[in-house]
Amino acid sequence: MTATERPPATAPAPAPAGEEKANAFVGLSRVMLLGFLRDKGTLFFTLALPLMFLLLFGVISKGGGTSHVKVAEVGQVKVLDDALAHAEGALDALEITKDLNEADALAKVKKGDLDGLVMEGPDGTLVLRFSQADQVKSSTVQGIVNSLVQGANQAASNAPAKYTLDSSKVEDDSTKPIQYLTPGLLAYAVAMGAVYGASFTLVTWRKKRVLRRLRLAPISAGTIVGARVLVSVLVALAQTGLFLIVAQADYFGLELTGNWWLVLPLVVCATLAFMSIGLVTGSLAKTEESANGMNQLIILPMSFLGGAFIPLDFAPSWLQDISRALPLRYLIVPAKSVLSQGGGLAEALPAMGILLGFTAVLSAVAWRFFNWDDA
C-alpha cells in the first residue's frame, strides 16, 4: 500500500462522547489479520508453499503409479505366447512390443525406452536382457519372466501345482496418494501458520515495545491471547478449505467420506497446540531471526517424523514412537481417517484431547518464560 493523494480532509467534527464505541478485541484481531494478509512472506509460507507441495507431491505420486513394464519380444517366444494365450489378465503388467530385431531392442533397453527384451536362446533357454536403471522395474520384469518359466516348467511336467500363491494388496483399492498427502501437508501448513503466527507476534511486539504499550492500555491478557487465537484459527481454517478444494479437484480426486467435517475441530485443536509451541519460542527468542531458527528446528523434524511428507506406515517402530510424542501426528492420523477413510468421533476425539493436553503443558512452559520487555 502506498500513500495516496488525498485532498485535505475538512476537519472532522469532534465526536460526541458515547456516539461511537470501539472494541479492543475487534481492534486487535483486525491488526493481526491485516498484519498477516499484508505480509507477503507469511502468506507465501503459510498458504502458497504448502499448496505448491500438495500440487508437486500430488503430481509426482500420480506419475509413479503406473507400474507397466515394457518388454520387447524378439522373434517368437513360445513360453510367452502360450502364457499370453492362456492366462490373460495375469500378465496385465506387461506391455509387449513385437517386430523389433535384437539389436534395435537392445538399444532401446539401454536407452530406457524399454524395460527388457525376451527371446529364445539355444536348448530351451529363455534369454532376458534388462536394464538396472530402474530397480523397481528391473525386478518386476525379472519376477514376471521367472514366473513364466516356472509355470511353463510345471506345465511341461504335467504335475498339478502343489502350492499356489494367493496374493492381494493390503491397502484398500481406492487408496490414492492424495489421501495421505492432503492431511500430511495440511498439518504442515497449519503448523507453519500457527507456530509462526504466535512466535512472531510475541517477538516483534516485544521488540517494538508494542507489548509494553498494550500493558499500559486497559485491556486484559485474555483479550490479546483471544484475538491471536481467533486469527490463527481463521488462518488454519482457510488453509483447510483451500487444501480440500484443491485435493478434490478431478485431477487429484480426493473423495471425502461422511464425517470429513471432523477435520475442522481437529484443525482447531491442533492450531492451539502449534500456537503454544510458538508461544514458547516467542518467549525464549529475543529476535525474529532466532525465533525463525527455533521454529524451523521444531517444525521440519516434526513434519518428517510426524509423517507430513512421507507416510509413516512402513517406518520402523522407534520412529513411530517418536512421532507419538509430537502433536503433528495427532492431526495427521485422525484427519486422514475422517477425511477419506470413513473415520468418525472415535478417531477424532482422543486426538483432540491429546492436542489440548499439549496446549496446556506448552502454554504453561511459555508462561514461565514470558517477558513483557526484552530489557
Partner: protein
C-alpha cells in the same frame, strides 16, 4: 493545587547497579515537568516506575491518587504514555494504528481520526507507519498517547531525531496539550527544549535528583557570570589582562584557544568598554548561563545524553 504525581524515596537496583537511589519528587496537576539527566542517570527507570511498568524495590508512588503498581486498570485510561521507539503494529497505516489504539479505550474511529487531524497527519493517514518520516512517526506516537484524552501524559524524548523546524512544530503541539490542563512529564535530550517548555525540571544523576526548580531559577542560581568571546588575534591574552586590570574590569578564566579569546565576568559593562576602546569587538559574543551550564555544574559533565 493538587499533586498529579508524588514519589517518595523510590529505589531500584539491577544486580550491582543502583539505578534509582532514593528519588522523591512531586508534580502538580497541570504542570509541565521535565526530567533531565545523562544516559545511565536513572531517569528511564524512574519514568518506568512512575508509569507502572516496573516495580520499585522501595518507596511509594502515587499517580492521580492511585498506585501504579501492580497494574491498575482504573488508572490506565487516565494516563497516556508516548514511547521513544516507534511502538507501532506491523503493516498498518497511520489511521489504522490510531484507530486500533483508540479501540483499546473503547473510543470510536471518528474521535481517533480527529486526533490524527490534531497532530497534522490527516494527509498521511494512509501511509504505512514504517514508511513515515521521523517527525510524522513522533507525532503519531504522541497522538496514540493522547487519543483517550488522558489527564497525565508521559513523553519520552519526543523530539529526538527531528530537524529544527519539526522540533518547533512539535513544541507548539506540546504546549497546547499542556494548556488544555493536562499534566505533562517530559524527558528530553535537549536542554533548550526543557528550558522553553517546562515549568519545572529535575536534574538527575547517579540515580538521585540533584536539583529541582524552574529552569530560569536554576540558571540564575548557579552564578551571575556571563561569558564574553571575541575573535582570536585581536588582543593577546597578556595585553587584554593588562588593559582590563588597568580599567578595573573584573574578570576570570581569561583564555585564548587560537580561535576565540574568552573570559568570564560578573559585570560585562566595563569589559565591553575596554574591548570597544581597542576596537576589538570582531566576532563578539556575550552569553548568559543556560541550563547546560547548570547541568555541567551539577553533574560535572556535558549534557550529551
Amino acid at each position: 493545587m493538587s499533586e498529579a504525581i508524588t514519589a517518595d524515596g523510590i529505589r531500584k537496583r539491577y544486580g550491582d547497579v543502583q539505578a534509582v537511589d532514593g528519588v522523591s519528587l512531586s508534580v502538580a496537576t497541570g504542570e509541565f515537568y521535565g526530567l533531565l539527566g545523562p544516559n545511565g542517570a536513572g531517569k528511564t527507570t524512574t519514568l518506568e516506575i512512575l508509569e507502572g511498568i516496573r516495580e520499585a524495590d522501595e518507596g511509594r508512588v502515587e499517580l492521580l491518587g492511585l498506585s501504579p503498581w501492580p497494574r491498575n486498570p482504573k488508572l490506565l485510561p487516565r494516563i497516556g504514555v508516548q514511547f521513544q521507539a516507534s511502538a507501532f503494529f506491523n503493516k498498518l497505516t497511520a489511521r489504522e494504528t490510531i484507530r486500533t489504539f483508540a479501540s483499546f479505550y473503547g473510543i470510536g474511529p471518528r474521535a481517533a481520526d480527529a486526533m490524527l487531524e490534531r497532530v497534522g497527519l490527516t494527509e498521511s493517514a494512509n501511509v504505512l507507519t514504517d514508511k513515515m518520516s521521523g517527525g510524522q512517526a513522533q507525532r503519531l506516537s504522541i497522538a496514540c498517547a493522547l487519543v483517550h484524552d488522558p489527564e497525565l501524559v508521559f513523553l519520552d524524548e519526543p523530539t529526538t531525531g527531528l530537524d529544527p523546524q519539526a522540533r518547533r512544530n512539535l513544541w507548539d503541539l506540546l504546549r497546547d496539550i499542556n494548556a488544555e490542563g493536562r499534566t505533562v512529564v517530559l524527558t528530553t535530550h535537549y536542554l533548550d527544549e526543557a528550558e522553553v517548555l517546562c515549568d519545572r525540571v529535575s536534574v538527575m544523576d547517579h540515580g538521585k535528583v540533584l536539583k529541582t526548580g524552574a529552569p530560569a531559577a536554576l540558571v540564575r542560581e548557579i552564578d551571575d557570570t556571563v561569558r564574553v568571546r571575541i575573535e582570536s588575534g585581536l588582543l593577546t591574552v597578556d595585553r587584554a589582562r593588562e588593559l582590563l586590570t588597568a580599567a578595573g574590569a573584573e574578570h576570570t578564566n581569561l583564555e585564548d584557544d587560537g580561535v576565540t579569546l574568552a573570559l568570564s565576568t560578573a559585570e560585562p559593562g566595563p569589559v565591553l568598554a575596554v574591548l570597544a576602546e581597542q576596537n576589538a569587538l570582531r566576532g563578539l559574543e556575550v552569553r548568559g548561563a543556560t541550563l547546560e551550564d547548570v547541568f555541567l555544574q551539577l553533574t560535572g559533565r556535558e549534557y550529551r545524553a
